[in-house]
């Protein structure tokens, strides 16, 4: 498995773990309970993880040779920031 693919998997695991912790856990329960969301909690989490993974996929590629434009730590920090932004966005959109 390439370094980039392994890092994407690590980010997916990191995101799913974060989503199971507070304050995200309670927020997700509220969002999924909204009349505007029709998927269950598990599917909702998968969609968020998918967004995060897609949005860092280019950075992940450039974190490895021959590019080495970012460090793995920087990419993971960016992923966590995107995760937070996705949840904040959904809070604004679905919990009105």
């Amino acid at each position: 498995m390439s370094g980039a693919k392994r890092l994407l998997e690590e980010i997916a695991v990191m995101a799913i773990v974060q989503l199971g912790r507070e304050p995200y856990r309670s927020l997700i329960k509220r969002i999924v309970g909204s009349e505007y969301v029709c998927v269950d909690e598990e599917t909702y989490k998968q969609l968020i993880v998918r967004e995060v993974v897609n949005r860092v996929s280019v950075d992940v590629t450039f974190a490895f040779p021959p590019y080495n434009n970012h460090t793995v730590r920087e990419v993971k920090e960016k992923a966590l920031k995107i995760l937070r932004k996705c949840l904040e966005r959904d809070r604004r959109i679905y919990l009105v």
Binding site: A12, I16, E35, Y36, C38, V39, R55, V58, I82, V96
Partner: protein, 193 residues
Amino acid sequence: MVSAYPKFFLFKFRPSSHSEDFTLIATYSSSEKAAVVEETLKRFLEDMEEHPDDYDTDWDPDDARVFKRGNEVWFNVYTAGYLDDVESAILKGKPEKVECYRDYQELTVRVKVPAGLTPEVAVLIGDKDEAEAIRWLTENCGKPKVVENGGDDELLEWMYCGDGIYDDYENKLYLGGIEFDLNKHRNWEVEWF
């Protein structure tokens, strides 16, 4: 156990240097469900206007169109593939299916043939390009409707909707690997809605 990796990938939108007109059509189980998703997407665009830094897109919310048609929700924008968050919002409404088109077109394609000819026979009397075009249209749009045209002619008519296949500037159809020039085939016409 919670799966650590996303289990579904409807489309893989890869941002590229080349922008295209994307149309997403999501079908829901009822018109009411579609109305809820339409409202959500409109709110999504408003939020994008207010918090642009929270979105990873190359398009302006003012340039996107959202509308409902029965139990379908349509989303259209010109982009290099930055649609992940839109798709995510569509999927949260639990659609029955989602289709994605590039340069979406709804066309009526007609060919004038002697009355009484079936498409199978029409293939035999046209030139090679016409035969290929009739074959492609019948395979992709179904059997043509036969329309009376007065006199000794009839029209074979196909309704097409999907990725862009018609260049109105060149007046050419791109049917799979075939470039069909309507300027050289005056018995053919395309109506574009």
